[in-house]
Structure formats: C-alpha cells, structure tokens
Symmetry: D2
Subunit: 346 residues, 4 copies
C-alpha cells in the first residue's frame, strides 16, 4: 500500500502516519516527490487499513498495490482449474454448453427440452425450480417438484443438471438433486449464501452481479474458495449500463481479463446478457471466440408460451443452428466442443 | 399494455397476436398509425405477457402502461405512510436522524457513540452486528454479542435500534433485539430474505440496490408489503456509476421522485452515498432540502481506528455540526427534527 | 405515439389533449384500459410532441412508437450499405482491418508502421494528426505535417488512409489528404462538425460516443445521411460503465443489434474498447465472430515509446498474430478478409 | 507516479524500467513490499509516462499520484474564484439564478420570459439561439436572430445574458452578443471549441459532459484556463447512468467535491439534471443546500407549447415558488441571493 500525503502536510501529520503504521506492525518508507510525499507500506496489509489511514490528518489518499483476492488468483495457482462434473468438464480447452428452460414449468416441457439439448450437443441441462423475480406477482417456480423433474431428466438423458439456489433454507434440498449449484446475479454478493453453498462441496456456477466489477466478482468467488470448495465456474451474464436497447451489456472484455487474473473457468450467458433471442447466436459466437469456456443458454419448446424470459429463449431450431456455428468457431480457435471431446474419448 | 407490430407484418401475424390475447382473457384494440400498427391491450395483464408477445412473429415490441407495483404506490394509498418505532416517527413531516458506528466493535465504542448520538439530537441508533464485506478476509462483526450491546445501548439511552439482517438464518435473532431490521444494498433483491424479514412484522429499512432502478426498488418494497408488513422505510444510499471520485453517486432525484410515486417514507445515507466523511454534511443538507424524511449516518469515536468504513465515518464533533445545520435546513422548509418534535410533545 | 393519461384524470384534461392533437393536425384514438386511458396518436409526429404533451395536466407520460431515425434504418433501406474507398470495401461480407499508430510521430514511425500493416494484411492505414487529449498538457499531434506523412504512406503502400477530424476549422485540410474522415468519441454528438464532415462527400467513420446509446449513435449518423452523404461506417469503441479494470466496456451486443436496425457497416475498435494491448486480440476475434465488418487497431513500432496510447498499442508481431487468427475466424463464419478478397479479384 | 512491478519480474525487467526513467530525466526509488516491488518516480512526470511504462515487460501497472490539472486546482489557488459579469457575481457567497427558455422562439416569448425572470429575482437570462438536438429533424434555433433578441432583452431588463456556443464558426457571432458563453454537455470535451471560446476572454459556463468524471471535467476547464481565461463557471447538469426514470442522475456529491478540489464556482442545472419540471424545485433546493453557487433553470411562458424541453420547463408561477424557497435555503446556510446582494449594495 502507498499512502499519499497532502501537499503542505505538517511534520506531526507525517509522524502520525508513520507511528500508526508501526502500531499495526508495518513499516513506512517515505519518498519525496516533486509535488507529493508518498509513504510505501511494507508488510501484510489488512483490508481496512486504507480506510483507516485516509481519515488521518495530512493524508490525501491511499493506493492498494496487491490484489485483495488470493486463492482465485492466477498467481496463487498458475494452471487452469478444470471443473469435473461427473465426467463433464468445464475449462479443459473445450466449449461446454449448458442449456435448458429459464423456469421448469411441467414434466413435458422439461423432458422435451432435455432431449433437444442432448440431441443438439449440449453438455448439461439447466432449469429453474426456484426463480428470483423482480415482481412478487410473477411466477416463482415449481420448487422441489421442479428439482425432481430435473433429476428425472438427468436419469433419462445422462446430462448433469444445474439449477439456481436462492436462499440458505433451500441449499440442502437443491444440493440433494443438482450437480451444479448456480448463484444468480441478485445474490452475487449474498455472502452467507455463498458460504452455505460452498460447504456443500458441489461445483458452483457463480454469476457476476449486475453491478459487480471484475474485482468484486473475484472476491465473491474467494468466499467460496476460502471455504475449501475449489470447483467454481464464473459466469459473465452482462452488466447494467445506460444502454437500454438490450437487457444488459455483455462484457466481452471480462473473458480474457478474467483468464489473466484467475485460474477459474468462465462461461458466458448471452440469453441474459442480451435479453433478445435473435442476438443470442452472434453474441455466443463472439464470447467463444474471445475465449469463454462455455455457454449457458435459455431454450424453450415454445418461447411465446414461456412463463418467464420468453423473449430471450431460443427455440430448438435456433439452438441447433447456434450449436453448429459454435462448433465451427471452437475449431477455428483450436478448441473442441465438450460433447465431441466426450465422444472421442468414449 | 401496447403491442407494437413490425412494419410490414402479415395479416396472419396480426391475427396470431389477437388470438393469443383472447386465449389469456384479454382484448386487443388495434390502431393503424402512419408507420406502425399498435394494439392496445385491455384487461389485467400478468407480468410475463410482454415477454411472451415479443417472441411472436410480426411483433416489434411491447410497452407496459401501468406500473407493476401496487401496494407501495401513491395511487393505491394517497396519504403518506408514517412508520412508528415505539414512538419515534419516520415520515411525519420531520427529519429523523439514525446514527451509529458502521460495525459494533466493543461495549465502550458502542456506548460512547450511543450517548453522543443521543446528546446531539439523533432519534435512533444504528450499528452493524453482522457485516457484509466485499472480501472474506475483512472483519465481519460481533454477531449476537453485538446485538446484545445494541439492546444495552437502547436500555440506557432510550433510542430505538436499527441493524442489518444479512441472512435468513439470523432473521430471528436479529428481530429479537432490533427495533428496525435493515436490508443492505447487496441483499436489495434477495427476495427470500425480504419475505422472511417482512413476516417478523418489524419495521424494515430497505436500502436501494446499488444498481436498482427506482422501479426495481419499489418492487422490492412490494415484496415486503405483499406479506402484510406496511412499515417500510426506503433508504437512498447511492448508485453505482462511472464516477470513481466518490464511493457511489447519491441520487438526489430519487427523493422527490419516490415521494411522487409512493407513500412510503424515504431517508438518505450520505455516508455510503459519498464514501468520504467531509462530503457527508453538505450532501446531508442537500438531501434534507430535497425532501428526505431523515438521514442515516456513520459515526465513530475515533474513525481512524474503525474496523470498517473509517473513511466515511463522522467524529462526534462533526456529527454535532451536521445536526445543527440540518435542523436549520429542516426549519427553512417547514419541518422539524424528529427529536425536537418528541421534546415538544413530551 | 401513445399518450398515457393519469389515473383519475378529468374529462377536461382528456379533452385538452384531444384538442391539442387536433391543433397540430393529428388525430387521437382513446383506449380505456383496466387502469389507464391511453390515446393512440395517428399522423406524422414531430420530435418535440412528446415533451409538449407531457406538460399538460392529466397526462402521465407519452411513448414513442416509431424510431426517430429514418435514412439509416434497415426499414428505409433493407440491403447492406457497402462503403467503397477507392476499391477498398467495408461491409461487403468481408473483414476489413484498419491499423496504424494512435498518433503520427515521425516519418520513420509512420512509414515503418504502414509497411508492417500492409505486409500483415491490413486494408487501410490509420494515424492521428490532430489528437483529442483529455489533458491540455499532452502531445496533440503533428497537424498538417502528419497529414502529409499519411499521404506519403498511401503513395508508397497503396493503402487508403483514415484520420480524425476534430474541428470544423480543419475539415478542409483533413479532407484534402484523407480517404476516410474519422469522428472521435468526444465529438460523436458535435452536430455542426458532423454536418461539415458530411458535405465533404468523403466516407465518414463515426465512432460511438462513450455515453451514446445505440439510438443516439444512429441519430448522429442520421445527421450525416441527411446531408446527402451515405458513406458512413459505424465504429463501436466501448462505452463508459462502472467497470474500471478496462478503459471502456466493449459492447458486443451492439454489433448484431446495429445490423438489425441499420444497413450501415460497423467495425470494432478493441484498442480503445479495452485499453490493454493483451486483451486486443481475443476481443477482436469476438467482435468479428459476432458480425463486425472490420477492425480498427492501434499498432506502433515500439509501444513503450509511443507518445500516446502506448498501453493499448500492438507491436508488429502481435498484429501479425491477430491478423492470422482473425482470418481463421472470418473463414469460420463464411467471410473473407478484405485484402484476400482484393487479391482474389486481382 | 508509482510503478508496480509484477510478482516474479526479472532483474532485467526491473533494470529496464529504471533505465527508462533515467532516459526521460526522472529517478526511481524502489520499495520491496511483501508481495510486490514498487518503484516511486521522482521528478516532473509527463502525461503519457504511465501508458508507456505499462507496456514494458515486468510492469503490472502504474499509479498516478499528483492530479493532472493545475490551474483550476485549489492547491494552485486557494481562494475562491468570483466571476464578475458586468457586476453580476457568481461565487461570491451568493446564490445566482440564471433562467430563461431552452430555445428562443420569438420576441414575445423571450421578452415575456425575461421580464418574468427579472421580476422573480433572477440574476441572468439564458436562452438558446443555436440548439444541439439529438435528432437532425428537431427545431435547431433562431440563430443570429435569437442572439439579437437576447441583446434586446438585456437592454430592457438589465440582466446579462448567457447562451450556448455549439461550433467554432459561431464563436465570434455569439461572443458579440452574449455576456457568458455556454459550452453544452455534448461539447464538454470538444477541445478546439474550448480553446476558441477561451480566447474570446468572455466568461465561460462549462457544463459537465454527461459521461465526464469530475477529473475529466476539471481537465476540460484546464483547457480554458491554460489559454489565459480564468472566468470559468462549472455547471453540474446530471450524468448518464442506468436509471431511466429521470433524464439524467444529478450528482449532488460533485458540488462539495469540486469545492474541495477547485477554486472555480459551480452552479447546478436541475432542469436537465432531472428532465421533469415537478422535480426541479426540490432538487434545486438540495443543490443549493449542498453548496452550489447558483442555479440555471429552464422557464417558458407556456411549457406545453415549447419547441424544446417543454417537459422540464417551469412556468412563471413555479419559478416564483422556487425562487422564494431557494432564498429561504440560501439564508439558512448563511448565503444571500445574488439579486438581493445587488439590491443591498445598490
């Protein structure tokens, strides 16, 4: 950490900062610049130190040098993390597609969709049993009945299943049925929930908060890793900006940036990232070309009758087109589709 | 709701939309404009209808006409809601100041602060026992021990106490000690938690999500009201924007806008809204002048030794100055300080 | 346009709106909804009508139905516009790469770079002679001397040249030398400049304003088209958001969205969109995969000695890698590189 | 400036940075921290140095310590700047109200408004003769005819006049008639225009760019001061955020923050900052309470017939109410209204 002193600070103010650093077991190394004096702080800095120092007289501001996350950083673990979900891999140089309905509505809807996902090359099934809805008057999911249908779909298709956990009270029941626990954007900084999910030991798909910076997001992942669960899949799902022509702004920069900063795999969710089904395919191709380890997609047998997110759901036909074109892009950048990979090894 | 048809839509597409409206018990009223045909939809529209219709061929988009929240709207209840916390009022034409430390650190820290808040005219004590921290390595609060200290401070000073609930698991214990349950910005759309808190029947201070629009925020309040708890206090605490010179951007527009749209009282949190203690007083005065029903402030006996949010905490001295100037502004706009009001009635 | 009346409006207020519509030659068609009365407005609406009506008593708000841009809309001209710059095409199903230094610094720097761009398959040379700099104390370009160097580089390499116009006073001199006139992000809504540039008749590369919505951007293009200049190339260069880990947030959604709304070609600028040279290649691949008609890139013989934007400039070596991988992506989606296309037709 | 080296950098990389600093006449002072080596740079740093160094191998990033603006900083000039417009003061501990129509439409409209502004205590008249419009099809102003009307209104009322300059070509004609030249939000970083306006020597009212950070804004002011014109009035007019319920988000934090960082006076524009006339009064009161030196307001004899910005224009009646309440707030914080001040001195 660097402490920047105000122009015209007094000797007492300077000494006060040096003394405070000593009090907390750190050492200060002053540099007299042309316009400012800066004190370099050496030692293990605790997270609140900057805030504390900034309240002291004579201090203009402080600048953190090291990143506050550790376990999820590339420095801590240089090799890519590969998450293994009963043999389905994410982050192994493959493009892994997770697809399914936004909300599970009925046995027929889910089974038809699961078969379509399987047939078109998807690696995993998604579907919401507990749904976060902006309005309390919206459809909120089939709850445990939905989870049972997911398990039935896995039974039939062999696809692992991923579903959202929205509350601590339902972590146990969701973990009983699901292969991957998803944390949604509205719970991206619900730290208690992150820890409850972490200790189930199940892989976690952690969506980025709609106003989380990349640093906030990696710190949220750190909550899970700090509880001993290393199976975290990051998911870029768009951030909230001034642009209203699309539901969110998909942050393509985050894909290669996260790959630099962290060893964790990262997938993209163009359904939420765009909010419009006709933008989902081109944005999917873009995110894969930029290095995403996979995609998570909303698909519905009949989007115009969907109980939620119809406008951003693909039909089976458009899913088929997307899968075909995604495979072409994956090959162009030297990757394989995860299901192809499985077939080859099989 | 209005359905806007694409230029050049076919008769089949138009008929499809009209038929779909009939299916769900609504009626469609077409208007042929110069460039577009628009279908006015008459009847009670369910939240997902727009999404559904937007997936239909020939439909360009849909426009919602009525606001999706009901119980918290000014139309539903024209008169201002006054929240009564054992005699301390919020929203009664008064300025109610809630102050205290970001985190409760020790008996001495809390008691000293509580006395200072009381002495300087504060109406309520705040203090965090469970703290949401961006990093898992930060100080996370004294938990139940902190709640007991709050109760002790209430005992001594007579001030009601307000503290944050971060998880469903702790709603019960927090409700046992606190007079007002606070929902923090990171849980502003944690809908399960909103409902759990609602059913305690205790007043709820609902912070705006850092990326919540005013509509999202009122819909979050609607979750609480829909569970039968009408004692909701809204709290503007700044939103996340591109500006990094301050911690958040305080949305002063939201004060009179919320007053128009809703009957609920609204307070402002300039400590988080600015992140810098020296901006807290001028922004407090501004928010009160714009119509806020109160302020929630971070204050600490020794901000440079605070375990969290030191940089935005007031000293007792600066709290005193702020209270005095706030009272002047309150009087200028024809309001009284809540504690004055109490003294007069007493 | 739709006029939404307030709940509980009076008959006089309703009649006032109907009368006002008649005054301006429009007709109103009321629809009585469950909660609101809406008046559909038929006729050619002038841009300010909505604002006017919203000030009338009894009016809650108005909703515009038709898009306010015309000439740049896909409806007005369904076929893609191909911009032809002396035989170099943008928008013809090809990927056209424009590359060069941020600022022209010297003959040697520009010539070396121009040769490198040519050798690695670039289609056009870029380089700044007049530079917009956030600080008045930064290097601001070689001005006309820079333009002469650009012309010399075109002479030698045969590549057309693109450079920014920053002021009306220099439109003439820039148009004398340049093949494409670039409007930078800070002038994206400098409407006088847009018109001055338009009437030169030269192709215009119009960068998106850093806080322009897609609609604002298309309306800025409309200023150019309305002056009779149809040769507009849109350029997505990232928008300003809360994320500070990258210089801007590249809006990948805008690529397919603009393709839907408009017939104009669109290129991407990952140098400014990311601000970090090591993110430029993956983001370039992503933007091309999502449908961009080309890329505009900053490249420098020695980025660490660049007088501006060194941190986001590619070396010749990294440009070579990017071009090779971009070609692979272009082929995967059924496109060709513009220079390949030229070679094949040659 | 601080240069942060990557973990695991080589000695060669470190030596390279030290050598580069020497090359440009600076000295480097290394500090070995627990996780990172940081090099403190001593000497006068040029603006591009950080960018250059960040491209060097082994460098993680750089951190600027001194602010890049000088002439407009509080450090450079501790005392408040008071701008004197023929005896009308801005920044002299007074609240100065500038009011008038968005666009000048006719002699009658302007004269009526000017008289109303004068009668209700306004200090200056505003009115647009050249209008920036998002759409090329909107009304764009009376141009020089409008300027003549402004001069006529000044003649009659004695109020100085303020109007926007939109292009270099019209700086001369606008400066011939206007007392204060306004730079609009869309030209906030049109650096050529800033310099052209500066050299007229007339006071400049510089609106904040809708996506300008406070630092960007002060750097834009620096362009004017660097040309020798010290009469700059900053104007906060709202920034662009995700919130769409209001036209912009008024940044109240910017008022006290700018007061700390700079000696320049700052006024607020709640008409553009909110976009809704019924929010203008409460937000005006808030901005004044937070320390703004004045207000700039849109007022129209008949807002529902305004050719632009009707929805945010005050009637004469609502202006009267606002002026009265603003005066009460001004007095509460120990200020006077500028027109009162003038009357007292007269």
């Amino acid at each position: 950490m660097m402490v920047v002193m105000k122009a015209g600070h007094t000797k007492e103010e300077f000494d006060g900062v040096m003394r405070r650093l000593e009090e907390v077991g750190l050492s200060g190394h002053p540099i007299e610049g042309a316009e400012r004096t800066v004190i370099g702080v050496v030692g293990i800095v605790y997270p609140e130190l900057g805030d504390d120092l900034e309240t002291m007289p004579g201090v203009e501001n402080t600048v953190r040098i090291s990143s506050p996350y550790k376990l999820c950083s590339r420095e801590f673990k240089p090799a890519d993390t590969v998450v293994d979900i009963n043999g389905t891999l994410i982050g192994a140089g493959t493009v892994t597609v997770i697809a399914g309905p936004c909300a599970i509505e009925s046995e027929e809807q889910l089974m038809t969709t699961a078969r379509a996902v399987k047939a078109r090359g998807g690696s995993m099934l998604r579907g919401g049993a507990f749904k976060p809805r902006t309005s309390p008057y919206s459809f909120r999911g089939l709850e445990e009945q939905g989870l049972k249908l997911l398990a039935q779909a896995r039974e039939e298709t062999g696809l692992p299943v991923c579903t959202e956990v929205m509350s601590e009270a339902t972590v146990e029941v969701v973990a009983k049925y699901a292969d991957v626990l998803q944390i949604g954007t509205r719970n991206a900084q619900n730290f208690f929930l992150l820890e409850e999910v972490a200790i189930t030991g199940k892989p976690v798909l952690l969506k980025r908060g709609m106003s989380s910076s990349v640093m906030d997001w990696l710190l949220a992942a750190e909550y899970i890793l700090a509880k001993g669960n290393r199976n975290v899949i990051l998911c870029e799902r768009g951030i909230r900006t001034f642009e209203t022509a699309t539901r969110n702004t998909m942050d393509i920069n985050a894909i290669p940036l996260v790959k630099e900063l962290s060893h964790l795999p990262i997938v993209a969710d163009p359904s939420h990232g765009t909010g419009k089904w006709h933008l989902v395919e081109p944005v999917s191709l873009g995110m894969v070309a930029a290095g995403a380890d996979g995609l998570i997609l909303e698909v519905h047998p009949s989007p115009e009758h969907a109980l939620s997110d119809g406008a951003q759901s693909l039909t089976f036909e458009s899913l088929g087109s997307l899968m075909e074109h995604t495979a072409t892009i994956a090959h162009a950048i030297g990757k394989r589709m995860e299901r192809e990979a499985a077939q080859v090894t099989a």
